[in-house]
């Protein structure tokens, strides 16, 4: 048996390899083949898709991979995940946690927010992107509706940072068990603490790491 297991792992590793070179078609093919071969679904998910994104994440952080390459890898991983989803035990995906993300009311800057959202997706998180110009009510509603673990707020204007405070307060007031994180160029750690957010990150990889941490506590 160990040999077969070894072979299977090798095949699963191929999935990881295909993700790393962002070959979406091959990822889908390989995942389908593994399912047909009755490989354990968890193994395909963890050793194939999630591990691959960890590698991709590391390569991105070290500057080896460029953003579009990292995003394409994330897309490839998502395609594989879609194939896998019907076979996952209920809640297995949701267990990783859902993130509701958006740029706050009055603010239309979304390049950074999009990047954070895409990288979160790439890390296997379920992301609900509300877009830009989002007020407290919409954040609260989406957090409840999607049973979110984290609400992520982005702002690029000093004039819209106070809105973050309003949203964080509204979420607390709504009494939902969800963590809040904030970010964006003018946002600082001190500001995040001051408004009672649960976390802050200066960049997208940091936001992913932070979210994972918050979701596992």
């Amino acid at each position: 048996m160990p040999e077969t297991k070894g072979d299977l792992t090798m095949a699963v590793k191929d999935i990881a390899e295909a993700v790393a070179v962002f070959d979406r078609v091959k990822v889908v093919e390989l995942v389908e083949a593994e399912i047909a071969a009755k490989t354990e679904i968890d193994e395909i998910l963890n050793a194939g898709l999630i591990d691959a994104m960890d590698i991709v994440g590391k390569r991105f952080s070290s500057g080896e991979l460029f953003v579009p390459e990292m995003l394409m890898a994330a897309k490839a991983m998502k395609a594989g995940l879609e194939v896998l989803k019907p076979h996952l035990s209920a809640g297995a995906v949701a267990a990783k946690g859902t993130v509701v993300i958006g740029t706050v009311k009055g603010d239309l800057h979304d390049i950074g927010k999009n990047l954070v959202a895409l990288m979160m997706e790439g890390a296997g998180l379920e992301v609900v992107d509300l877009g830009v110009d989002i007020d407290a009510e919409k954040f609260v509603k989406a957090a409840v509706e999607h049973n979110a673990g984290v609400v992520a707020l982005s702002a690029l204007l000093t004039t819209t940072m106070p809105t973050m405070e309003i949203i964080v307060a509204a979420i607390k007031e709504a009494g939902i068990a969800v963590k809040t994180i904030v970010g964006g160029a003018p946002v600082t750690e001190a500001f995040a603490d001051q408004i009672g957010a649960d976390g802050f990150s200066t960049d997208a990889p940091g936001a992913v790491e932070l979210t994972r941490k918050l979701l596992s506590t």
């Binding site: 953003v67 390049i111 004039t159 160029a185």
Partner: protein, 469 residues
């Protein structure tokens, strides 16, 4: 000649224009603002949901009514500025919410910083007008911060101001304050920046402010810019078409509201840092946009805007100097009519620095000197003197030299021009510390410009009332 920044012939500019028309007609521009769409519809434009579609003749008509030059009045008439033609006007940083200290530390900008920078603008030999967000003061209520800045620029300087475009309300506040100073706003007394939202759309609040300024006939810089590779194609050509189409749509709206509204045409484009997704705006690609925007400005016969002395650096190092000089020199030499961010900005426009402001003034001065035409008068040829001195001359002893010795050459304030051992002995030698010395002098020599006490009272009253004080 086929240098990269001069190879814009009419055919190439025409193709940017034609592709822009194609986008305006086929894809349209999003105006999430019912009032604006109503105006378009009244003029027979096709709309679909929030999208507005433009025909070639609409754009042509709009371009026909844009003035090729105009004057913005200053509180001190000697400081009025002329926008267009050969003129090149400079304003300091726009929008940074942080101050970068000489230590490299970053802190939130405060209203006190706005005041200090106003002193520097007023005492600047080279800056021609104010910025409406020289820094964003973070400790004051944000919904009225624009009033604090407007009041400061009006009271502490007598140079032309920028209006606040952050919302329709802010635009109206700008006009109200100007009315208190000038009695009316019949002539241009400010200029404001309206940014579109790439790709191919405007934010509702920006449109509101564009409409307020256009109704009042006050000049607007209509600016579009893609982050190459994220909000637009990675290629300059593709992004240019998006930005040009979007800017033309904004110009069109202003001209429908009030034909003849003075416009400054603006487009930019900055690379997305492909390793991080960050925004880079002191790059050869940015500089190329500057060259192209000026060529397009001439193509449309509209004054044009460029970025200023931008850098990605956070201190007065080689990178800051190199990038700032590349950006501002390109703007000046390719014919920009005005630059924001001419002084003081660091790190992608997010930080403002006092010391960089002083260093950039040297750059502005050098560039203004570089742009001046060489004097070819009889006195400048000085033929009699040359013949008289022949081969034996010592021109240092001549009256001609004496008369001009204080004015002929550009004299930097901060840059050094000395010999090595003098430099070694210099105290302080570090450029940032030397800039601090100049700053202290500038703050000391600042005098508040005269203003009618009644006007001052009314301005303060207006701002206080609006702030609920």
């Amino acid at each position: 000649m086929n240098r990269a920044i001069t190879n814009f012939d009419q055919k190439m500019l025409g193709s940017i224009h034609n592709y822009s028309l194609e986008l305006l007609n086929d894809t349209g521009i999003r105006f999430p603002n019912e009032n604006a769409r109503e105006i378009f519809r009244e003029h027979g434009f096709r709309t679909d949901g929030e999208m507005v579609f433009f025909k070639e003749k609409d754009i042509r008509m709009a371009l026909n009514t844009v003035p090729s030059s105009f004057t913005i009045k200053a509180r001190n008439p000697a400081k009025d500025i002329q926008i267009g033609g050969d003129n090149y006007m400079m304003a300091p940083g726009y929008g940074p919410p942080f101050i970068i200290e000489p230590s490299g530390e970053k802190r939130n900008a405060l209203l006190d910083d706005v005041h200090k920078f106003c002193k520097l603008v007023q005492t600047s030999q080279y800056l021609d007008f104010n910025s409406s967000i020289i820094v964003q003061p973070t400790e004051v209520p944000q919904e009225t911060a624009h009033l604090d800045i407007l009041l400061a620029t009006l009271l502490m300087t007598d140079k032309p101001i920028m209006g606040s475009s952050s919302s329709g309300i802010a635009a109206k506040d700008s006009l109200k304050l100007a009315e208190l100073v000038w009695g009316n706003t019949d002539e241009p007394v400010m200029i404001s920046l309206v940014d579109s939202l790439s790709p191919l759309q405007y934010a509702a609040e920006m449109v509101d402010s564009l409409m307020v300024f256009a109704e009042a006939g006050q000049p607007v810089i209509v600016h579009s810019s893609c982050s190459l590779g994220s909000t637009g194609p990675i290629t300059i050509a593709g992004s240019l078409v998006i930005s040009n189409a979007t800017t033309l749509a904004g110009i069109c709206l202003a001209q429908l509201i009030n034909p003849g509204t003075p416009i400054v045409y603006g487009l930019g484009g900055s690379p997305t840092e492909m390793k991080t997704g960050g925004y880079v705006n002191a790059s050869p690609e940015d500089a190329k946009h500057t060259a192209i925007v000026t060529a397009l400005g001439r193509y449309y016969n509209i004054p044009c805007r460029s970025q200023g002395a931008l850098t990605e650096s956070f201190c007065l190092d080689y990178q800051a100097g190199m990038e700032s000089a590349m950006m501002l020199t390109t703007a000046a030499l390719s014919g920009a009519n005005l630059s924001l961010h001419a002084c003081g900005t660091y790190g992608s426009m997010l930080g403002m620095s006092y010391e960089k402001f002083i260093a950039d003034e040297d750059l502005c001065g050098a560039i203004k000197k570089l742009m001046q035409p060489v004097e070819f008068t009889d006195d400048a040829f000085s033929m009699d003197m040359i013949k008289e001195l022949g081969t034996s001359g010592n021109y240092l002893m001549e009256m001609h030299t004496l008369k001009r010795c204080r004015s002929e050459f550009f004299m930097p304030e901060l840059s050094i021009r000395t010999i090595h051992n003098k430099w070694l002995e210099m105290e302080p030698r570090d450029i940032t510390e030397r800039a601090a010395g100049i700053l202290a002098k500038r703050f000391a020599e600042y005098e508040k410009p005269e203003i009618d006490p009644d006007i001052e009272k009314h301005l303060v009253q207006y701002v206080n009332t609006r702030k609920g004080l």
